[in-house]
């Protein structure tokens, strides 16, 4: 007990000094002192959870049906492109009913060639040996492409990771904000945006798939049929975005939003808000060629299967720039521009949980939390002092050091402090002295049994450790389960408890033991007042 080597004293001292240094930037954050903190010292800070800083939390769930629908549409597009290549294979009666893509090959001698080309379009799904689409011939001339379960699962996974990036770009086009966008559980995306109190605009941005397509208007369609929702072969009927009826357009996509490089909100000649888009090289070429071939005809600008507008092509548009007109306000044009520039969402996202917290509530909570922490530390300190005297002082020094260490470690790992986390902090303060209580009571006991001073202290620390260890393991078990199952704020609580368990064993057992050993060596007391 008395042999407390110098290097151990130094080690414990250094650990504590580092912990305290790490905790200071978080403690002085937001005060004038923060500016005078030297730049060469650690700058780590604890971040505040949404419940303390204010902000919006959205949990989005992918609409799996929509993802499959979009995938089917994309396959339809690539199949059409593929079959139109030289030597061209003429097909008809394209259908996407029942989640499968099917079409008829007009010339029976080309069926084998068509199957061959379709097989080339499909890809193997990593390691499973299966392909992502099944190609079959039915009734000798009809080809049916069925998505395989493996392919579908893979597609959904890919869609989710693209969707996550798209959501991030839409909310934070500059990439400068401290937002959280993560996928959860395979088909969900969690979005946390500090400082944004009203999530409505966020939802506007995320709510749109933003699949932009340009298609030629089918002028040959019979208006009466269009009213009924029927379109000639190769065309489809789509509703107008402003709800003023519907229009027949060619199925074939002239250019799509995938080929954009930029989109900005601007104004047209009449001063109405519009969106100015720029195509990439391939898109510009395609757009130029189609407009050249169709001067004088109208084309439809389609967003998420709704027609925004259908202007006439007055002249070929060759520069790769175009304006999208429609019924926009400045805000909605701006939002759509952001959505277009960030790419389309490969799957529709629905909001299934939404929480928004104003900044004032968080400020109140921090204020009350700080006061409650200070009062409980003070009361526990007084209580320990009157109960254990000198040994209480040691426990109290350990308690204060422990508080700094918890904050320091949280800062180092950039952990998030939540409102329940404050409760975890206060609970840890109350519970951390338990180790000292166990040790001190044991020392009292051993002295009553007639052990000599040094012997009693040594036995006290030794015998109490078992119970301290077991009790802390039970805390770790419940806190770890909480961290695993809990969401944001609750996880913040669990993290504080876990860190507190580790630091409190260090301060309450090793650190106080050092203090006691140094005291005994220096003062050589004859009796213990405990």
């Amino acid at each position: 007990m008395l042999e407390f080597p110098r290097w151990k004293v130094w080690l414990i001292g250094i650990v504590i000094a580092i912990g305290v240094l790490l905790s200071i930037p978080s403690l002085i954050a937001g005060t004038p002192l923060a500016n005078s903190w030297p730049k060469w010292l650690p700058q780590y800070r604890i971040s505040l959870g949404l419940d303390l800083a204010g902000g919006s939390h959205l949990l989005l769930e992918a609409d799996a049906r929509d993802a499959l629908k979009q995938r089917l549409q994309a396959m339809e597009d690539s199949v059409s492109t593929e079959l139109r290549r030289d030597p061209r294979i003429d097909v008809g009666d394209i259908s996407t009913a029942g989640g499968r893509l099917s079409f008829m090959v007009r010339d029976p001698t080309q069926v084998d060639a068509a199957v061959e080309r379709m097989r080339n379009l499909t890809r193997p799904v990593a390691l499973t040996g299966n392909r992502d689409w099944d190609v079959q011939v039915v009734d000798s001339t009809r080809l049916v492409l069925t998505p395989t379960p493996d392919g579908t699962a893979r597609a959904l996974k890919d869609a989710m990771s693209v969707a996550r990036d798209v959501v991030r770009r839409r909310i934070d086009p500059g990439g400068t904000k401290e937002i959280t966008v993560v996928t959860e559980g395979g088909n969900r995306i969690l979005v946390e945006v500090p400082g944004v109190e009203n999530p409505d605009q966020l939802k506007q941005l995320i709510g749109q798939t933003a699949r932009l397509e340009f298609k030629l208007v089918d002028l040959g369609a019979n208006p009466a049929d269009v009213q009924q929702g029927r379109a000639p072969p190769g065309s489809q009927v789509l509703p107008m975005a402003d709800g003023t009826g519907a229009m027949a357009v060619k199925r074939r996509v002239m250019v799509s939003g995938d080929q954009l490089t930029d989109a900005k909100q601007g104004f047209d000649q009449d001063g109405r808000p519009d969106i100015e888009i720029t195509f990439n090289t391939a898109g510009a070429r395609r757009f130029g060629r189609t407009t050249q071939e169709n001067v004088g005809k109208p084309f439809a600008i389609i967003l998420d299967d709704k027609i925004l507008s259908a202007p006439n092509i007055n002249e070929p548009i060759l520069g790769g720039r175009a304006q999208i007109t429609g019924n926009f306000t400045v805000q909605s044009a701006h939002d759509l521009a952001v959505s277009l520039a960030s790419g389309k969402l490969p799957v529709k996202l629905n909001v299934i949980e939404e929480r928004s917290i104003g900044p004032d509530l968080g400020r109140d909570s921090i204020h009350k939390g700080v006061i409650a922490s200070a009062v409980s530390i003070a009361l526990v300190i007084v209580f320990m002092l009157v109960t254990y005297g000198r040994f209480g002082v040691y426990a109290n020094i350990a308690l204060v050091v422990n508080a700094f260490l918890i904050l320091g470690i949280m800062a180092m790992f950039n952990a998030t402090l939540t409102l329940p986390g404050i409760a975890g902090f206060i609970l840890t303060i109350g519970a951390a002295v338990d180790a000292n209580v166990l040790i001190n009571e044991r020392i009292r006991e051993e002295i009553r049994r007639g052990r000599r001073l040094i012997d009693a202290v040594e036995t006290g620390y030794h015998e109490a450790f078992r119970a301290i260890f077991d009790a802390n393991v039970t805390h770790v078990i419940s806190a770890a389960i909480m961290a695993y199952f809990g969401s944001g704020p609750v996880r913040g609580f669990a993290v504080v408890l876990l860190i507190g368990v580790v630091t409190s064993v260090f301060t309450a057992v090793y650190f106080t033991r050092m203090l006691v050993a140094l005291w005994i060596r220096r003062a050589r007391p004859r009796a213990l007042h405990i």
Binding site: D51, L59, E61, N350, V351, I352, E353, E354, R355, S356, I357, G358, L361, D364, S365, K368, G369, A372, V375, S376, L379, V380, F383, T387, G389, L419, P420, I422, A423, I426, L427, G430, A431, V433, D434, V437, L438, E441, R444, R448, A467, D470, A471, V473, T474, H475, I477, S478, I481, M482, Y484, F485, G486, P489, V490, F493, A494, L497, H529, I530
Partner: protein, 317 residues
């Protein structure tokens, strides 16, 4: 300086004398608590039943009845209004509107407008909207987490001690959780995610005393091989009594402060842990220890066979 000794030296309380009375009382209380919870149900928050929760802080205390009639007049379904200690902070709970997310937005938006128009200076602190799907998952996960934590800790105690101690720990935990649930059912305090965090904490912390007492019982079983079980339990309880009292007090002081002057939003969490620690202190004495007697723990239960022979030989013929 004279030091404070809450438990005088050489205290010797015959705890085990009342163990059967305590058992009957605990059993009645536990059954009553479970039955009451089942009958009356818990006041589950939007986290677990879905719906919307709007928290408002008003500039002046408001007339809750008046606010209620205003919200009722909006015909948004069965709304409930609760104040948070003072009539300045109020939470308005609305059921899930039919028609999904878009409808939910409109509902919250209307409440916000109404409040801001009729009560100048009112501040909307937070709006939570939880869909039925998410709330079901949260409820399931919470139940699983609590069950797993109880089981995990019981298994740990079993591994570190003996199976009888593991069973004792599990029964103690079940008792503590049941009593705290009963309290929430009785007071109609809202059960939200924070309260579940509190239950998990209780699972970890209410067992604190039990672990310490079990550790002492194990030590004494090894030390006094011929002592009868009841006096041995009494001895262990008395030896650890001072520690039990002091530790429970420090935890209760800290949590009491949090409960009284801490942030209102976590009042439920604070009071649940406070209560759990209080109940846990009682049950560590009157449930954890007597269970060992009923499970047949004897002074020589945990001796290795050869030690047993040795002990038998030492017995006077």
């Amino acid at each position: 300086m004279k030091l404070l000794k809450l438990v005088p030296d050489h205290t010797n309380v015959d705890f085990m004398r009342w163990r059967n009375v305590a058992l009957v009382l605990s059993l009645i209380a536990t059954v009553a608590s479970v039955a009451f919870t089942a009958y009356r149900g818990l006041n589950l928050g939007v986290d677990f039943v879905g719906g919307q929760l709007v928290r408002v802080t008003f500039a002046q205390p408001v007339d809750i009845e008046q606010l209620r009639s205003k919200v009722d007049a909006m015909h948004l379904g069965e709304a409930s209004i609760q104040d948070f200690g003072s009539a300045k902070t109020v939470q308005i709970r609305l059921p899930k509107p039919p028609g999904g997310d878009a409808a939910a937005n409109i509902v919250a938006g209307r409440v916000k407008q109404e409040v801001e128009r009729d009560y100048p200076g009112a501040r909307i602190d937070s709006v939570d909207t939880v869909s039925g799907k998410v709330s079901e998952e949260l409820a399931d996960n919470s139940a699983i987490a609590i069950a797993l934590a109880m089981l995990g800790i019981a298994i740990y105690i079993w591994v570190r001690f003996e199976w009888q101690f593991g069973v004792g720990a599990l029964l103690t935990l079940a008792h503590d959780i049941a009593m705290t649930l009963g309290f929430f059912a009785f007071t109609r305090l809202q059960v939200d995610l924070n309260v579940v965090a509190a239950f998990l904490t209780i699972v970890g912390y209410s067992l604190n005393d039990t672990v310490v007492i079990y550790d002492r019982i194990r030590e004494n079983l090894r030390k006094y091989r011929k002592m009868a079980i009841l006096p041995l339990l009494n001895l262990s309880l008395n030896e650890t009594l001072a520690r039990t009292v002091v530790t429970s007090l420090t935890v209760l002081i800290a949590l009491g402060v949090l409960m009284l002057i801490g942030p209102e939003v976590i009042f439920g969490l604070a009071i649940a842990i406070f209560l759990g620690v209080l109940i846990g202190t009682y049950s560590s004495i009157y449930i954890s220890s007597p269970v060992l007697v009923w499970l047949g723990v004897q002074p020589d239960s945990f001796l290795k066979p050869e030690d047993k022979e040795e002990a038998a030989e030492a017995q006077p013929a």
